[in-house]
Amino acid sequence: MSEWLAMGGHGFYIWSSYAMLALCVAAELWSLRRGRQSAWKQVDEAREELELSTASPEPAPRAR
């Protein structure tokens, strides 16, 4: 096993490459998830603001 991991002396270069790819993919998937959650929050906020402004007696400016 450790012989396989050593990759004939090139283990450091190979695993550094694959580890960076794994890290980038993980970071991208994590940021996608965060982005989706914050987008829904934005939708909620924008619409609540709109509902408040349409419910008030004075015509308030439309949100955004």
């Binding site: 993919v25 993980a26 991208e28 987008a39 829904w40 939708v43 619409r47």
Partner: protein
């Protein structure tokens, strides 16, 4: 209904959003399965290279990443051209959704190239035509995203970023042909349409499996990101409201959790 109007109906975010949502798990799982198969063939079936030893196994991620970085740029420029000429909302959103993934692949191709160059050429980095033009590609992606982020009005941001992307497209053929036009340290094209493959068949299989995995991954991620962009940019549109309120506060909630399912599927 003509073919034209058939395709145009998906140019509306309200139609495209649910369609994209149904496609994401398929591409996500395909990416995971192809990557596992590619890694298996790459590490357990493909033989040791007689010249480079084991270090060549970096090719299985280096070449797919470099191809995707160039190809995503072309697709992004295509969507930018459409958004400038037809002014369709969805085209600009697609370009915006592709840029981070293109930048990620450009970075990965540079990084893996550096770690392959060290044992092979004796240097992590040289100012060689191919390496330098790929670095410029990464900067173009970053510039595209930074320019978008710097302009508040989304429609103006779309136009400015689209122009930048279209000017930058000249760099893609420069990267591709750099190994022919200049005397470079970088080896020639790995795959050629006109010549027989120079590598063992199992090596080629592993590389192609990884390439298809990168394709499927890119499609899944770009679709996921474009849906987020749609929500942000159309927060007050009727279709978002309908999804959020009627019958589908639930769908909305599900949406919030769907992100985690996708990240599991594509991991």
């Amino acid at each position: 209904m003509t073919t034209g109007s058939f395709w145009f109906q998906f140019a509306s975010p309200a139609r495209f959003y649910p369609l994209a949502g149904r496609m994401i798990p398929w591409f996500g799982w395909a990416a995971a399965a192809l990557a596992l198969a590619g890694l298996y063939v790459g590490f357990f079936v493909a033989p040791t290279d007689w010249q480079q030893g084991e270090s060549y196994r970096i090719i299985f991620i280096h070449v797919p990443a470099a191809w995707m970085a160039m190809f995503i740029y072309l697709v992004m420029a295509f969507w930018c051209a459409l958004s400038l000429t037809l002014n369709t909302r969805l085209s600009a959103m697609m370009a915006q959704a592709l840029a981070p993934t293109g930048a990620m692949f450009a970075f990965v191709s540079l990084w893996t190239g550096a770690f392959w160059g060290r044992p092979t050429w004796g240097a992590y980095w040289v100012w060689d035509a191919r390496l330098t033009s790929t670095l410029i590609l990464l900067f173009l992606y970053l510039g595209f995203m930074a320019l978008r982020a710097a302009i508040d009005d989304p429609r103006r941001a779309d136009r400015a970023a689209a122009l930048l992307a279209l000017v930058g497209v000249v760099n893609v053929p420069i990267i591709y042909f750099s190994v022919r036009w200049w005397n470079t340290l970088h080896q020639g094209a790995t795959i050629s349409m006109t010549a027989a493959p120079k590598m063992a068949e199992t090596m080629l299989t592993a590389m192609l499996l990884m390439t298809f995995a990168a394709w499927a991954y890119t499609i899944a991620v770009a679709l996921h990101r474009v849906r987020t962009i749609m929500l942000e940019r159309e927060a007050l549109a009727d279709w978002v409201g309908e999804m959020r309120d009627s019958g589908d506060v639930v769908a909305g909630r599900k949406e919030r959790d769907a992100a985690s399912t996708i990240s599991r599927a594509t991991r």
